[in-house]
Amino acid sequence: MKLFDYAKADSAEAAVREGADRDTKFIAGGTNLLDLMKLQVETPARLVDISRLPLNDIEEIEGGGVRIGALVPNSDLAADPIIRERYEVLSRALLAGASGQLRNKASTGGNLLQRTRCYYFYETAARCNKRVPGSGCDAQEGFNRILAILGTSEHCIATHPSDMAVAMRALDATIVTLGSDGERRRIPIGDFYRLPGDTPDVENVLRVGELITHVELPPAPAGRQTYRKVRDRASYAFALVSVAGIVAIEDGKISSAQLAFGGLGPMPWRDSAVENALIGRAPSDALFGEAADLLLRDAKGFGSNDFKIPLTRRTLIATLRELTA
């Protein structure tokens, strides 16, 4: 690990004052940042410890939504009575991720910003445009079993590994931030992450030193909610493919559908064409197959991850069957 300076912040305002430069990183649970610092994939010159900021509450807000502090641990969020009752998809996604120990430490903000698990990103001897811009991408000709089939570019095919963010994408969460200039921003999660393009090192729209303070969820959507995760072992593994689904039925027809996908792209993936194709139609396997074809119309495998295309199709169909049964 490279040597760094350390400062502890006792308020969000102090944190953004301390954090306003390119070589500084906030540290919350540390479960992703320290992992990467040990390998010198991340080499911040300074850490600002935000783990004790008073951003630990889950509260109901006007209009029926919920505001989640950026430091609420993943365990506490999954177990919160309001989340369990109204946002089951979020509880389920959190519980499908990592381990009991990690969820006790992992924070809401840190989970959104965790970096890819691409093997070549972790291996400093490999070429990786995300880690060293312009160096190349060893994954495309290498072991890419866990990598993306949608939203890739010739420069990077990494996936965003979070389960929680997939559920939040389906729920249309809003990310609330505080900038180093004191500006507060409200960023819909659909605008938060960026496609890799030719700058895969830039993963989201946060500015230097900008702190996530909260995540807000709109009022609980109508219908049934589920999170289905397919992985290489039954527990304690990242998703190969996952689906966060919320579907409502009225008079035998699908009246609303919110579907987000993990393991497929550089961000929690959502495609309005897929949802629109379902709305107003009676559930059937033929319809679900049509939706899967739409979702995968631009899918592209890179060899060892080709299997994700049929796997995604089957996983989406199974999820829609479950939600409309």
Binding site: T31, L34, D35, A79, R84, R92, G100, Q101, K105
Partner: protein, 173 residues
């Protein structure tokens, strides 16, 4: 830096990069907590911080100066074993023993989570789930055992859980 570990105050002068695990093992001679992977993937380093189980390899010592830290050394002594320690011995819940301190600290934290009513990935309902053996397996999945003592680990934890919560034991049957 100042720490409270197993109820005792400790002082150590350590590099800012020191993880909580390295502090315990290398600086305070509390070598019960083990280093398997050093990357959050095995659970051998599990300790309790303010009563919650965490991986001590993925956190900095400097971040825990105001916390109550409990390691395997603080749970029981050879003369007076913690109920989980006794159950691991009785059920042969280990072979080489390397993962065992982490398993036991993790199980202590896990049973506390169950008592609080926290659900898990395998819970059929998020509300008040039954505490089945599948629940034990899922909730302990963050602790790997290279000797694969898993069946006996589950038996040991089951015994302590049932003794703790007879009502739950019946419900699970």
């Amino acid at each position: 830096m100042h720490f409270t570990i197993n109820g005792q105050p400790h002082q150590a002068e350590v590099d800012i990069r020191t993880t909580l695990l390295d502090l315990l093992r290398e600086h305070l001679s509390l070598t019960g907590s083990k280093k398997g992977c050093d990357h959050g993937q095995c659970g051998a380093c599990t300790v309790l911080v303010n009563g919650r189980r965490i991986n001590s390899c993925l956190t900095l010592a400097v971040m825990h100066q105001d916390d109550e830290i409990v390691t395997i050394e603080g749970l029981g002594t050879p003369e007076k074993l913690h109920p989980l320690q006794a159950a691991f011995v009785k059920h042969d819940g280990f072979q080489c023993g390397y993962c065992t301190p982490g398993q036991i600290c993790s199980a202590v934290g896990m049973l506390d989570e169950v008592e609080k009513g926290w659900p898990s990935h395998v819970s059929a309902t998020l509300d008040d789930p039954d505490f089945t053996d599948d629940e034990i397996r899922e909730r302990m999945s963050g602790n790997l055992c290279r000797c694969s003592a898993y069946p006996n680990i589950v038996d040991a934890i089951r015994e302590v859980a049932d003794a703790k919560q007879p009502a739950q034991a019946e419900a699970a049957e």
